[in-house]
């Protein structure tokens, strides 16, 4: 049988015999009682968020897998924005989903699931940053950016410029940084950011203003 790779904690690669078999295996304690109201695992992709949450809480392992599949990219991108490297971002993404799973009963549906996951993600990332300063990836390690439309000098220039901006963002105070990331990259509304950060729309706008002003101070006029 062909071998594939999967991640194991704390972030090292190891071969497993069959990844798909691992995915189908029911989690201990997650074997649900048969319920006529809940669809088969294969149909979870069609459910809306509240139904997925309900199915997860009812013990249907496939339902939480569907939640992960739906939100894994934005959650990973959020984490990457905070830590600036793939390894930490993937570890943190896993942590976000695990904590979401643990706290799923506390999700009341007042905000979207995405907003709730972002809230967990921001907390997880800021906690990590307070414990460990992440190692930002070098340009050479960032291999998967589509650069087909650029010349080599343009690409180098863009990478250098992005590295300077990323370094400046990393120096922003925590709330300013979180606000900027959520607004600029995750494209949340001011109200959604206020929900994530537990603040007001006015405070979000003020934080965003100060984040951009501080970026200007940190970068000087070199990018203007």
């Amino acid at each position: 049988m062909a071998q594939s790779l999967t991640w194991t904690l704390p972030g090292t690669w190891r071969p497993v015999r069959d990844l798909s078999a691992t995915r189908r295996e029911p989690a201990p304690g997650l074997v649900a009682e048969d319920s006529p109201d809940l669809p088969a695992d294969a149909a979870f992709g069609d459910l809306d968020e509240s139904a997925l949450v309900e199915a997860s809480l009812a013990g249907r392992a496939g339902a939480f897998d569907a939640i992960v599949e739906r939100h894994r990219r934005p959650v990973y991108q959020l984490c990457y924005r905070f830590v600036g490297n793939h390894e930490d971002a993937s570890d943190l993404s896993q942590d976000v989903f695990l904590r979401a799973y643990r706290g799923l009963r506390r999700f009341r549906g007042r905000s979207s699931l995405a907003t709730w996951l972002y809230r967990i993600g921001v907390n997880v990332c800021l906690n990590r940053l307070s414990v460990k300063r992440p190692q930002t990836e070098s340009i050479e390690e960032q291999q998967h950016v589509d650069t087909r439309s650029e010349s080599a000098p343009e690409r180098v220039l863009r990478h250098e410029r992005a590295a300077r901006v990323r370094a400046a963002i990393a120096q922003l105070p925590r709330k300013q940084r979180a606000t900027l990331v959520l607004r600029m990259y995750q494209e949340l509304s001011h109200q959604e950011i206020a929900d994530v950060l537990g603040s007001s729309v006015g405070a979000v706008k003020a934080n965003f203003f100060h984040a951009l002003s501080n970026l200007k101070k940190l970068l000087g006029d070199e990018l203007l």
Partner: protein, 198 residues
């Protein structure tokens, strides 16, 4: 007429409010300059990509989460016991330090500077505790560490760990530490102090 407010500048920079709606902008070069700077910084920030990981990565991430969730068991109805959480194989390295902070928050809540009628009032929320006035304590590096850790405690994690942030719940949490857990807490605090060169 005064200069534009921060939220007006943000609304202009982001586009929902047209410049023509604010005549002040025409006559004030300072506000125009500030608006231009905001827009330039937004453009610079927007140009920073997240590198796309390998296409295989997404399924690997899902598989990792699936395995971790499988190790957790079903979502909990009741709160986890401290001991279970403390022994969690995945959460251990990072969470142990945070546990220290959680316990310290509990101890600080119990020991430091609450008014005489504090115990009769409603329970303090986490934010209220975190936002309360700075407290004074004797010079002790371990207390500096405690303050740092407590400032970083995540309210969600506190609740997920089975704690609450009002005083009696904290009291209970502290009293639930076993001798082994206390010993582990001391070890972690010492390690952290050594790491910080305190």
């Amino acid at each position: 007429m005064g200069h534009l407010k921060l939220d007006q500048l943000i609304d202009l920079a982001e586009g929902p409010q047209p410049e023509s709606s604010l005549p002040h902008l025409i006559e004030c070069s300072a506000c125009r300059g500030q608006l231009a700077d905001l827009r330039a910084m937004m453009a610079a920030a927007a140009d920073v990509d997240v590198p796309e990981p390998s296409p295989l990565f997404w399924d690997h991430l899902s598989a990792r989460v699936h395995e971790a969730v499988a190790a957790e068991g079903a979502p909990r109805r009741a709160r986890m016991w401290l001991g279970q959480w403390f022994r969690g194989r995945w959460a251990m390295p990072l969470s142990a330090v945070t546990l220290a902070a959680v316990v310290i928050v509990a101890m600080m809540t119990l020991r430091v500077g609450r008014g005489p009628d504090a115990r009769t009032g409603p329970p303090a929320t986490f934010d209220e505790v975190a936002a309360s006035e700075p407290m004074t304590w004797p010079e002790d590096p371990s207390l500096d560490l405690v303050a740092d850790l407590a400032a970083e405690v995540d309210a969600d994690l506190v609740v997920a760990a089975g704690f609450d942030t009002h005083e009696k719940a904290s009291d209970k949490a502290v009293s639930q530490l076993t001798a082994g857990e206390r010993s582990e807490l001391q070890r972690l605090l010492k390690e952290e102090l050594a790491r910080r060169g305190a």
